[in-house]
Symmetry: C2
Subunit: 175 residues, 2 copies
């Protein structure tokens, strides 16, 4: 698995000045596209969740859908989408969070989380932790118990981990 | 499998007047949330693809990511995201398509499709076929060979199938 994870790491592409000047964006699309790397990434995330008892995977739109859905299938759990504002059709609860410029809001269906459900929140990448924190608060507000937050990639220098109150934060690849 | 698919069908929720008055929206989130229904849906889609030789699953943002990613994992293929304009970090090619009011555009990474790659395009639902048609043209323009378009749900009364040039269009649940 160690060697295969190196293959995953080698396929993460750095794109300079995206989404704006000075940022080096970690592009995971070459990982997704490679069948071996993609399945290794999902299997490794599933392995990391083995010690955790949980009921649902909640994925954050949109790249968190790609990682989260395959991970839910692999672990035999249900999948709950956390979406951008206005994208879920039924009754929602929502939470705003700060971006570098302005605010964004994410939503979850009000009936998506049964009281006490044990939830793992998934996204592709942990940066400053803004959206992960909002997702975590949203799940908690909906009555869920956030057991873990898991990411394919963590940008450690942005210290997003420190903003999250969960004491169970997992990432496969750290920069 | 027949009986399990009935469970999937029973979990599709009808939401009235979303996204606008007069529309009855088919909400698949209760299907995704139910571990058994979710895995049955993915397994059934994978079974339907058994006779088709293909290399990649291309999923259309955003619900097509949820279905497509799990399906790519299940079938052991790579996953290619087709995204809304401006969301892919690397060099893209894009295609506009008409919505009821105005236009939308979707994009694919220019290097995502090797010449002659055999692609299956996935979305949750086939309605009028606008985005599926644009996705299909985009993959073809990128050099890919669209082997099949597959959907969890097809709204047959909207005749989206007739707009698509592919002769291989699969849907699991028809209304």
């Amino acid at each position: 698995m160690e060697n295969s994870l190196n293959k995953v790491i080698s396929l993460v592409r750095e794109v300079r000045d995206y989404p704006k000047e000075g940022i080096i964006f970690k592009d995971i699309t070459p990982v997704l596209q490679d069948p071996k790397a993609f399945s290794t990434a999902i299997d490794s995330l599933a392995d990391a969740l083995t010690p955790i008892d949980f009921d649902y995977i909640a994925g954050i739109e949109a790249r968190g859908f790609i990682i989260g859905s395959a991970l839910a299938y692999r672990t035999g759990k249900g999948f709950i989408p956390i979406r951008k504002k206005g994208k879920l059709p039924y009754t929602t609860i929502s939470r705003e969070y700060a971006l570098e410029y302005g605010n964004a809001a994410i939503e979850i269906h009000a009936d998506a989380v049964r009281k006490g459900s044990r939830i793992v929140i998934v996204d592709d990448l942990l940066a400053t932790g803004g959206s992960a924190k909002a997702a975590s608060e949203l799940v908690t507000e909906a009555g869920g118990d956030v057991k873990c937050l898991i990411f394919l990639i963590e940008l450690e220098f942005l210290k997003g981990r420190e903003r999250l109150s969960s004491n169970n934060i997992i990432s496969l690849i750290k920069y």
